[in-house]
Structure formats: structure tokens, C-alpha cells
Point group: C2
Chain length 330, copies 2
Amino acid sequence: MKIVLDAMGSENMPAADVEGAVQAAQLYKQDQIILVGREELINRELAKYDLSGLNLSVVHAEEIIDMTDKPRKVVRGKPNSSMHVGLNLVKDGRADAFVSMGNTGCTLAVAMLGTLKRIAGVKRPAIGAIFPMPHRPILLDNGANADCDAENLLQFGIMGSIYAAVVNGKPNPTIGLLSNGEEEGKGNKLVQEAGELLAQSSINFIGNVEPKDFMQGRVDVAIADGFVGNVMLKTAEATARALTDLIRSEIKSSVLSTVGGMLARPALRRAGASLDPDEIGGAPLLGVNGVVMIGHGSSGSKAVRNAIGQARQAVDSGIVEAIKKGIETG
Amino acid sequence: MKIVLDAMGSENMPAADVEGAVQAAQLYKQDQIILVGREELINRELAKYDLSGLNLSVVHAEEIIDMTDKPRKVVRGKPNSSMHVGLNLVKDGRADAFVSMGNTGCTLAVAMLGTLKRIAGVKRPAIGAIFPMPHRPILLDNGANADCDAENLLQFGIMGSIYAAVVNGKPNPTIGLLSNGEEEGKGNKLVQEAGELLAQSSINFIGNVEPKDFMQGRVDVAIADGFVGNVMLKTAEATARALTDLIRSEIKSSVLSTVGGMLARPALRRAGASLDPDEIGGAPLLGVNGVVMIGHGSSGSKAVRNAIGQARQAVDSGIVEAIKKGIETG
């Protein structure tokens, strides 16, 4: 398997990206990790590591897309970017997946409009966020589409169902529609319309769900428009961060609790890891002709390594072919 | 001051409601707590407590609105409900505020359509959730209006600004518009339109904010439509619950960490309390002609007691008059 990593992606590029690639290459020795970006910058980073026995290669790309770039401009405006070059390797069959911690909007635009293009029949590709909880619930869309119609949400349901089935290994996964209440008649107009379409579809739709149902594992996949999904994901992250910070500062506030905190540290760490987004590292872009994983710009090497792991799993499961078939048959 | 409590509100009514009222009466001895609902049920609960020196009274209401009732039906269909009777006490000037842990949709409908009515000029009253964090940020709307237009969001900004100023004592509070990114051009169509209106208003609007800005105290008030606001609030609650449960089970998983957890228990408890919605207990319904506080159906006595405390503060601050003036002047 060949996985392309955009080495110019993260805010700490190329250091964090290259370090994550080296870690992934150590983990997955049978696979090839292809680093795409400015060759001299990548090689300078690679020189810091012992690469013996690792299957890493570098493909040069002259242009860099940064966090200030506008999606509409880069598709034609930076045709030699690491995103274009990397995604074209996947398009041309010379690699199996593309992973980037870079500008999400630009990754989407280059994948959808400039390189891989949408799967036939898919109106809007969506970003599926996998929550770092034991049951690995999936939320989509997580920001690709701020305004959606009911048919978009139906397709998100189909794609999310397929992802949960083939990648997370859940046969006949349950799909819920995120709402402000479970009762019939709850929800905004979009949710009410989408609920009717989802109920008529062939997926295992269980109706409206609230955030707690998603967090507690009552559904495998929750569907929302990209605005709501993004607010939900970021609220979960911000709350976990706020609570962790509070616990840390309260534990430090007395000698006894400091000692207690030290004894309980491994337990606290395990609990933290269960909600740590870096444990997943990447979110799949579903609905394009290839495996694409998108990570946070602030990702460190751990998130990069885990995003590459997610990409491997997605390739292994044949997600793109499965979505093609699923969208065809509805 | 006279505060009405809907004794038929919570899922554990009247036990939890009456217990909370007794606790509030112990705390606020100069005030009167008026319990409204089935007299015989309330008196049976009251008999469990030592009421000497407490200023508690009971007003009978024959009908009960429960969680399965539909807002549209109860306004005319249950005219003798505890909600109608209690809200009319406020409307008629015989009490200063109304507090209920009951069916939110029905409380809204009875307050807006059946009793207090909207403040002149207010298109849509909104529920303002106060987050239980040290800086007490306010999010509105939190579920009263699943579908909103830009002008609704502008009015939410004005009412939220006034609430933060007069109740939370924040002069010139900062107002942000909840979005899937801070950058200009981010947000769905509604957010983009509302952002323009808010920028032209006289409130201290600082632009788009993300959930983390709200959690970390970068804004005093965040504005969202009721669907998004409700998803955000419930996600924060569900995440805090999930993390707390994880920590508890991880701490129990070894002897050392169990000991550590015992030593750190007071610190962990303080951290938990900082994010415990029961510490606030009630959310104000802003934009009606009277002080109304709405709580979770699952509330226990602590939440009821604290919601009564919130209502006292709102009455003290003259929030209704302030909103009248604010909406008039824009």
C-alpha cells in the first residue's frame, strides 16, 4: 500500500508531518509513505531520523497552500501545490490514499474540483468525524457543507452507514439524525424534511437523536449539516479541554490532592486518551474518487501517524468502491 | 420578593420541586416562595420538612402539563394548569417571577401566547443558557426557535447583551456569533446575514466565534439559532458527563489510582461542580413580559433551588424593563 502525506500541511510543517510519517513508516513497514512537498525542506527534516528499514520516499511539489489561502483560488492558482501533486498520485493510481493536516477548505476544493472529483451521483462530499470514544461513533458532515438540503443529508446517511460498516466493522450500523429533541415534530425544517427521506431509505435509520445518544453509543452514525456538525465536534473538543484544564488546576491546589493526582495519573491519562482527537488524527472526506484523510492544522506527529493509520484502514476496506455501489443503489 | 415555583414541573414532581423550594426558602428567608399545583400532592411533600420560619405558600392548580403534552394544545386545552396559574400570578403583579422544570415547549407557549405575552417589538423570545463556568458565558437561543432569520439573531444579541450587563454585571459585554470558523466568509447563509446586522447594531459585537472562544471566555454572550444553540449546550453537557464517567471508571481500575482518586476527590469534585449545569439550574426566557426561568425536567432539588436563585437575581436587576428599553432603542 502507498500512502501520500502532504508534508506541507500542518501549522508546524514540515517538522510535525515528517515526524508523523517516520512513526507511521516504523509501524507499517510493509507500506510505503510518500512525502509530498518541498524536497529540500522534507529532506532536512528526514535527516534527523534513523530511516534504515523504512519505506519512505519524497516527491517534490514546488507550491505550498497555507491556512490563509482561499479554496476558490488555489484550485487553478497553485497547480503545483503539495495537495495537487499528492492527490494526483492517487488519481493516477500511483498511490492509494492522501493525508493532509493542511487547510481543510483547500483540500476539499483541490480534491473535488481539481483532482479526484466527486463519485458519480454524490451531490456533496462530506467530512466524517470519528469521535475518539470506545465505540467510535461517526458524525457527518463536519464542516464541508455549511448549508445543506434534505437530499444532501440523505446521502450523508448512506455514506456514513457504509463507512461505519466497512471501516469500523459494524454490520447494519444505526444512523440517527442530530436534532434538538428525539420526539417526532422536533428539529428545524431541514431535519424534518431529511427525516422523511432517511426513513424511506434502505439504511438502518433510527430517527432523531440528541448529542448524548451519540456520545453514549446509542447510534453508530449521526447526520447533521456541516455547520451543526462542526459546532458539535468543536464543542465536544472545547468541553473536554476545559474540564481537563479545570481538573489539572484543582488537583494542583492542595498537597493532598497533588499526591492523589500523581497516584491516579495513569488512570487520568487513560481517560484523557479516550477523548483525545489525536488518537484518531484524521477525518475521511467521503464522496470523492479516492481515500482522503483530513487532520487539524494544529496536529502533532501522533495525530499525523494516526491519520495515516486511518487512511490504511479505509483503503483496506475498499471504502471508495463501497460508496460508489451504495450511491448507485440508493 | 415573591417567586412562583411550578411544583408539577420536574420528572420527579412534586418531590424534587418541593424539596428545592424548601431549600430556597431556607436560603432566602426574606422572600416568599409560592408553590403552584395540586394542593394535596404539594402538602403531602411539604409535611416531610420542618417549615418553621420559612415563607412558603401553596396555590392550587388542578391541571398538570407533562412531558408528553403538545405546546399548541395546552395553551387553550389546559387553562387551569400549574403553568397557567403560576404565570398569571406574575402577569397580575401578584408575584415577581415564575420558575418551572416542566415541559419547555409548553412553558414557552403558555408564557408567550396564554399569559405574559411578548414584550412589544420582540419577534421571538429566546432561552438564554448560562454555562456553569467561572466566567458565566451566556448562549442564546437555546431551543425556543429551531428556525430563525437574521433579524431574530440580531434581537437575541440585544437581549443577551442586556442580560449579561444587568444580571451578570458585565458592563458592555462582548457578543459573538457562533460559527464554524472565525474568518469572514465562514458560516452558513443565516450567520453571514446576521453578522452584517449585528455589526451595524449598537451592541459590542466582536464577530464570529467558535465553541472554544465561548468556553474559554473570549466572549460574554454567543448567539445562535435555537437548533444550533441547543445542540451546542447538549453536546457540552454530554461531553462533560462522558469524561467524568470515564475518569471515574479508570480511577477504579487499580488500587493505586483508587487511593489517588480518594485523595484528589475534593479537587475532582470542585472541577466537576464548575461544569455542573445544576449549579445554575435555570435558563431565562428572554423577551416576555415577566421573569421566567426554565430548568431541565431531570432536575433535582439543587437545580430547583439554584433556578429560584437565578430568578431572584433577574428580578433584582430589572431585566424585563431593561429589555423593553433595549428593544425600543435597538
